[in-house]
Structures are given as C-alpha cells and as structure tokens.
Amino acid sequence: MKLVWQSKWTLWAGLAVAVIAVVLAPLLLNDFRLALLAKYLCYAMVAVGIGLAWGQGGMLTLGQGLFFGLGGYIMAMHMKLADAKGGVPDFMSLYGTGEVPIWWEPFRSPGVTLVAIVAVPALAALILGWAVFTRGVRGAYFAILSQALVYAFALLLVNQQQTTGGTNGLNGFKGFFGLALSDPANKRMLYFIAAGVLVAMVIATRALMRSRFGELLIAVRDQENRVRFLGYDPAWTKVFAYVIAAVFAGIGGALFVPIVGIISPANVGVTPSILFLAGVVIGGRTTLLGPVLGTIGLRFVETQLSETYPAFWTYFQGALFILVICFLPQGMASIGTWLKWLRRRREVTA
C-alpha cells in the first residue's frame, strides 16, 4: 500500500496547493460561500482525527459528535456570556430561572474557555478510552457504544432546556472574543483561522503517523494481541490516538459556533456523528489528505444537491457510500492505485 504522506515532495506540493487554495478562496467566493467553506473546514478537522483513530488505529469512532459538541457548547457558552456583558444570557431569562447556573460561570473567562475547549474533550476521551480499551472492547462493540453515548449526550442537551437551550441549542451570537460577528471582515478572518488550524492539524497528524508511535498504532490496528508480546500495552496506544481525535473534534466544534452561528443537539447527535465518518470513508481513511478532501467534497456536493434537489441528496449519498465501499474500500484517495492496477492488467492481457 502506498502511503500518501511518505515522501517529503508530496508534503510540500500538498502544502503549496493548500496555501494557494486557502488564499484564493476569499477572492473567488462571496461571503456566503466562504462561510460555507469555513464550516466544511470545521468538519474536516473532525475528519483528520477520525483518520488517525480509525484509519491508522482501527477504532471505529462513530461518536465524534460528543467531542464536537463539548467543544462547541463550551465556546457557545462563553460567547453567550460575553454577549450578556456580565449579565444573564437572553434565552435563560426567557425559559429559565433567570440565573446563570454555577457550571456556566467558569466560561466567562476567555482563557478558561480556550483551555477547556482542548481539555474537556481530551479528558472525556481519556476516561472513556481507558474504560473501554483496557477492557478489550473493540470493533462493532466500540462503535455501538460510541453511538449510544452520543445519543445520550444529545438527549441530555435537549432535556436541559433552561441551561443548554434545548432543541434550539445556543444561537444568536453577536461577538467573538470582542469582534463583531456582523462585520464581514471578521467573518473572513474566522475562515482564515479555521484554515490555519486545519493545516496545523494535518501537519501534526503527518508527524504522528510518521513517528514510532504511528508505526506502533498500525501494529496495534493489525495485530493488537501480538503487540502485547512486544512489551506494549495496546490499550494506551489506542487511548492516545483517541484523545488526539477527540481534541481535533472539540476544536472543530468550537470554531463551528462563531462560523455557523449556532450549536444545537442536531449538530452533535447520532446522524452528524455518522456523517463525520462518511467523508473519511469516501476520501480514504488510511491516507492523510483523504479525510480532509473527502469531507470538503462531500459537504460541498451535499449543499449543491440539497439546494436544488433536496429529496435527492439522501439517495445520492447512500449510493455514493455503497459504491465507494464496494469498489474503493480505501476511498477516493486510492483511485490512483486502482487506475494503475487497471492499466497494468490491460498491458498484461494485451
């Protein structure tokens, strides 16, 4: 199997293309389209983490909505409190007791918020991963558990309307760390932040995949029990990759909030968690850039199709999914290898 991230040349070429695309996009797209692209970039952050945990580490992470939601809601709470300028967020006076619950208070501080966006998903993944992987829960069982957790999380959010905004979620934000969100220049800046963060995540993931840890992770994915006989506890290898994936998802969720202007249970539940995986499947889970390109491409097509033929989109997505799984199990990123194989076969038969 050829690994996309293996040569230095592809890294620099990829980076150059990425930088050009990032810089060109604001020139070519109107503000509305640019905001959409920025949203896709947030989803792509989740996808990079899934590529690491699932593609490289074999953990079928079907519950990344949990971490996306943790990051998103933490950011949203901060923005709500900041909008209220030391007072009570609007929806709380409408539906709640008119008092800020005690567990919201820490998020008044921008510093605490930024730390929590990384630390809370990381801690959640650490505890969860420890509990699950040291007990040898794997494969479909892990996937089902992830889905159940994310379902429970969405349910909890819905049921706590006074403090989480319930089904409506948190929305109607005015500012982002002191910047007015109504200003298009600030919106454009958010796009650049998202692009920069995504590129940093891709570079960090590349370094991880090439490190000894990356090799160990492949070994754990392919022969978990064999790795024990090399003196490693495979559980901790998995937990580490899982925590990284959770942090990426949390950051993606946090940036999603100012870019899209809302976070609600509909963004973090079972269906969005499956959709996070879809882009990775289509792009190619074992490659570095496959998850990013697959996610952006899929979300782009989603927007296009659901604008013109809203009913058709679901079928299209299902069909694409089946096609990719049947014919390109390594995702679109393997199309090159596949074509090469076809050509070689033709040469042989000719």
Binding site: G136, F213, G231, Y232, D233
Partner: protein, 296 residues
C-alpha cells in the same frame, strides 16, 4: 553488555512448578514441573495435543493457569506485556509478524518497549545499533525495507527470533521455529539457537527429530499434559515410556543406523492415536486476548 547485565543473565533460569491449565474440566496441562537453565538448549517434545503450546501460553499470560512459573519473578497472573518486560519472549506456531510494517519497523518496535513514552512521538532518524545487529544475525539485512507480509515463511520465523533478540528477551519460548523450513534453513536456525543459548534461556517446542538430535542439549517429553521423561537426547530416546506413548513404531527417532527393530512395541492399555505427521497441517491457532474481552 554491562557487567551487571551479564551477572543478571548468569542467574537466569525458568522454574515451573505444578502448572495446571484447565479448559472447562479438561487439563490440557496437568501438573507440569520444568526447570530450564541458561546455556541449556532445551527441547520440549510430545505428540500433537500434548499441551506444549498451552504451556507457553500459560507462561506468557495468554491462558489462565494455576501453579507457579518463576523467571526472576512469578509470571502467573501478570499481564502479558509486563511478562515481556520481565524478559520473557515467545514466538508463535504460525509466524505472526506485523505484516503491514517493514522488517526494519518490526524490529524497531520490538526494540522500543523500554524507550521513554515521549520519544515514541518522534520519527526514527537512524537505525538503532541493536536492530542493525539483529538484521545481520538473522540474515535479513538486505530485506530491511521489505514489507514483513511479503517474506517467505522461514524468513518470518527468523524475523520473529530477531524481534526477541532486540527486545532483549532473556527467556525465549519458541513454538516450532523450524516448521516449514528447508534442511539448510533448519541447519542455520539450529546454529543460531545454539549461539543464542550461550547467553539466554531457551525452550524450543519441536517436532522434527533430525533437528532435535542435531541441536538439543536436553529434552523434556510431554504426553497428555504430563512430563513423562526428561534428560539428554540419548536418555530420552532409550526411555521405554517415551518409545511407547510418543514415538510409536514407525517414528524415526533414532538415527538410521541404530533404528530399533521394525516390530511394533507392545502398547498396554487403551491406545491413544499417536503423533504422526499431521501436526504440520493443524489449522493455525489464533491469538486470543488474554483476558475475556468482548471482541467480535
């Protein structure tokens, strides 16, 4: 190697006492005592199903067992990766290297268990000296960058032995290391094992009698989970019990010149089908998790 390490190895020995492995009432290993010292290349033989692999599984924490198995520390009840860190290494009946990684990467991971955790996050800059040495020893230097999955069967077995060397295992438990090898490869492997046995404690499970006669220092014979004989090759092959239950009439245990008369030795009691060639054709045993996991 440091003087302290040499000293430590000099006192290495494996001491198994009263080892019992119970599979739902069936004692696959039934009260085995086994002492193996450094420098004594010990062969463990016995018919198919005698419990040889199960003994190794028990010592390495793959299968639950009672009794005791001491190699510096009591191994029974320890987690597999800790047993390995205590200096115990094993190979599997069906070579199990990490197929998607290269030969070099396999060895590097095996060498890495004592590396500090954080150093794992860096890429390998150069080949560690112990890995280079192992590549030479197992004769795979020119295949270093080949995917391990593409190696021939014998080369995979060598790679596994190489992995034990770089992980600096002081007790090596080898489950049929020469199965499927050519005569020449067997010879090379045997010489390699003799060399390794000078500084490490080795137990070799083997079926090939030619190989056993050429390289064993001592032999333990297992039958239905029990040790029925132990001693030098000559002692064991003269033992009537061994001839009776294990070797059977047609086995060519003795060298051709001193092969016993062709007549069948008397078999008393209900006879159990004795071991013959099929051992090689047993379906490969899957590595199962040591603790009850909920895996599919």
């Amino acid at each position: 190697m440091s003087a302290a390490a040499v000293e430590r190895i000099a006192h290495d020995y494996l001491e198994v006492r009263g080892l019992v492995v119970d599979f739902d009432g069936f004692h696959a290993v039934d009260g085995v005592d086994l002492t193996v010292t450094k420098g004594d290349l010990r062969f463990l033989i016995g018919p198919n199903g005698a419990g040889k692999t199960t003994i190794i599984d028990a010592i390495t924490g793959l299968t639950k067992a009672t009794g005791s198995a001491v190699f510096g520390v009591e191994l029974l009840g320890m987690a597999t990766h800790r047993i390995v860190r205590a200096g115990v290494g094993r190979t599997f009946q069906t070579a199990s290297v990490i197929e998607d990684l290269t030969v070099l990467q396999n060895l590097d991971i095996a060498a890495g268990m004592r590396r500090r955790r954080l150093t794992l996050l860096r890429a390998r800059k150069s080949t560690p000296p112990e890995v280079t040495a192992a590549l030479e020893t197992i004769g795979l230097a020119e295949h270093a960058d080949k995917r391990a999955g593409t190696l021939a069967h014998g080369q995979k077995q060598w790679l596994e032995i190489g992995m034990l060397l770089v992980q600096d295992a002081r007790l090596l438990l080898l489950d049929e290391p020469v199965a499927g090898m050519s005569a020449e490869e067997r010879q090379q492997t045997g010489e390699l094992l003799q060399h390794i046995a000078q500084t490490r404690t080795i137990v070799v499970v083997e079926h090939d009698m030619e190989f056993l006669r050429s390289f064993a220092d001592s032999v333990t014979v297992l039958h239905q989970g029990k040790v029925i004989a132990e001693g030098s090759v000559a002692e064991v092959q003269a033992d009537p019990k061994v001839i009776e239950v294990y070797l059977g009439p047609s086995e060519t245990f003795a060298p051709a010149a001193e092969r016993p008369p062709k007549e069948r030795p008397k078999v008393t009691g209900p006879s159990r089908p004795v071991a013959t060639a099929p051992e090689k054709f047993r379906p490969p045993r899957k590595i199962t998790p040591p603790t009850g996991g909920a895996d599919a």
